[in-house]
Symmetry: C2
Subunit: 360 residues, 2 copies
């Protein structure tokens, strides 16, 4: 196979289309990573490192501060929505197709500016990584953080995930636990000889159903928490009183709490219930009070908002690097079959990041 | 294969052992049915009909009343518990092995008396049938009832299922429904954009958990009802608010209610909830007020009790034939790996039925 050539001088909308048309569903990012590596190695002011299907390109200008600007190369599966096409929706100029929102629009902005900005005011580490849309253990940014944390070193980070070109700071943490209820089996014709484990789960489920999670202010942003039963299971056969039932509970907690704090919240809600942690990811504080963050906000404009979902900004946060989400595309259209980005947002992000990186 | 020879003149405990040692797990009853058919065809006072793996043997003495005495030939799977062995448990003489309780002890009593009683006071229809321990649609007694109801015609029926040699009258009905709760999917980081179907099930589950089912007097016997969640399911992934959840509810209802009455009870408890019937079997009234039933009770002795579980007596009941359960073996030991019958109960049932059938 020959590596597809990418022209980083194209307008950002055309570059987005070209990137989308190189399919890169999770696990199949190599062709796109090859094309990006090849294009960036042709840029004299960048120092390029390849790690698996991740590509990291850095300026080395000796600036007092360095920023990381990151995005993932993979997409969820294509569903007849490639190649990209251009459409007009209610007056808007849209680029339609898999990846246009999540997140090759952001990748296009990154690549265009990486090639263009030979003399930015801040040193920049441009990061393109693999395996974001699948099991967290495979995540390319996580791999870089484990194997080459120096490569990620920065004073501030921007993740170009879709936010409709608004700044979204930090993210809620996420904790998933299994609540397990025990009983004693019996024939369902003589249930008084056993104890029904599904019935034993009723109080906990009622508590979850009526619970109203708080909204918590963190560094000036309001984080809305949530607590949900996302799974429930129990039962052996219609003639058997079951001896075990489980509720899977997902708790999205404000970044002012640690994962351990979040676990204490659940233990306090369900005293005496067997509780097993299935998944825990710390949140990330927005970090918008740091001067470098303020400068970023001033340059790109608009009011910052909290991010409710967990994103890879938390991986930067775990390395002590304040990080925000800022990228083109409506997140509500990510992963949908009619995924489409408004070309205006592509240009707005390009201009926002350029304004920030060149401001002296 | 040669048909194993059965000596119906053996003492009932030895005959039980011989029957158990001819394995007859559901679907593999042919060898045992062949042996029984062969043995009964050698009895001059019986008229024998074979239907699949069911065998029906009748006296034709022109008595004013006819009784049916029935049992199933199949067992649940063998688990290293054959051939049978004799053991002493806390002073009791036990026959141990698959089928000793459920229900070859009863079959042995039937066969022994079928061969012995050439001149009973009542005409007797001895019924041996297949496929009781599996899907109800395969049940051999059900097949006979559909295809040859005349063969089952009787004024009263005894099913020799294990009751520890006590009379258990009628049986509860059983109704299984699925309660289905709907919601709207959303990402679990933004649950307020959807509606959690598992949470929507909380009230119904709480109602089931705290419900105290009544005990209902039917023809002098107290039927304890029961109502249980025997299954619960819902959930797509830990990051998705689920749009559907289901509770499987099993209701054992007193035989004074019809299946339709029972369904009305559940509809009344869960108004507005989507409800799908998964399984419904009518109960059977004990029918112990009929003179023929009183005569049976007088002959075998003891106080009758209600049957909570559903048994094939309901198939007789559906044909308008009052029916009771009466057989050797502790039902709590049925299907267990250490299934074992007390030899005293085998003899007590043999004597009880003989006393009844020969009383003039």
């Amino acid at each position: 196979m020959t590596t597809p050539a990418l022209d980083l001088g194209l307008p950002v909308d055309e570059l987005t289309a070209a990137l989308c048309d190189i399919e890169s569903v999770s696990g199949h990012e190599t062709a796109l990573a090859d094309a990006i590596e090849h294009a960036l190695r042709g840029v004299p002011h960048l120092d390029v490192v390849r790690d698996g299907d991740a590509v990291v390109a850095r300026t080395r200008l000796g600036r007092p501060q360095r920023v990381a600007i990151a995005g993932h190369l993979d997409t969820v599966p294509v569903n007849g929505n490639l190649p990209t096409r251009r459409e007009r929706h209610e007056g808007a100029d849209m680029l339609v197709g898999r990846g246009t929102v999540d997140m090759k629009g952001g990748i296009a902005v990154q690549l265009k500016l990486a090639a263009e900005l030979a003399d930015p005011a801040l040193d920049v580490t441009w990061i393109f990584y693999d395996h974001e849309e699948v099991d967290s253990a495979l995540n390319g940014l996580g791999r870089l953080a484990r194997r080459s944390p120096d490569l990620l070193a920065a004073d501030f980070a921007v993740l170009c995930e879709p936010t409709s070109a608004r700044v979204e700071g930090g993210c809620n943490g996420t904790l998933t636990v299994v609540l397990r209820f025990r009983g004693t089996r019996a024939h369902s014709a003589r249930p008084w000889k056993g104890r029904n484990a599904i019935h034993a789960a009723a109080d906990a489920l009622a508590l979850l159903a009526r619970f109203e999670p708080p909204t918590i202010d963190v560094d000036g942003l309001a984080y809305r928490e949530s607590l949900n039963a996302v799974g429930i299971r129990g039962g052996i056969a219609r003639n058997v009183i079951p001896d075990v039932a489980e509720i899977v509970v997902n708790y999205r907690f404000a970044p002012s709490r640690s994962g351990e704090d979040a676990l204490d919240v659940l233990r306090g809600m369900f005293p005496g219930v067997e509780l097993e942690v299935e998944d825990l990811a710390e949140g990330a504080r927005p970090g918008l009070d740091a001067p470098i963050a303020r400068a970023f906000l001033d340059a790109v404009g608009g009011e910052p908002a909290p991010k409710y979902g967990w994103t890879d900004v938390a991986r930067f946060s775990a390395l002590g690097i304040p990080a925000v989400n800022y990228g083109p595309g409506d997140p509500a259209r990510a992963h949908t079959d009619d995924e489409a980005v408004d070309v205006v947002e592509l240009r707005r992000c390009e201009q926002g990041l350029r304004a920030w990186l060149t401001r002296r």
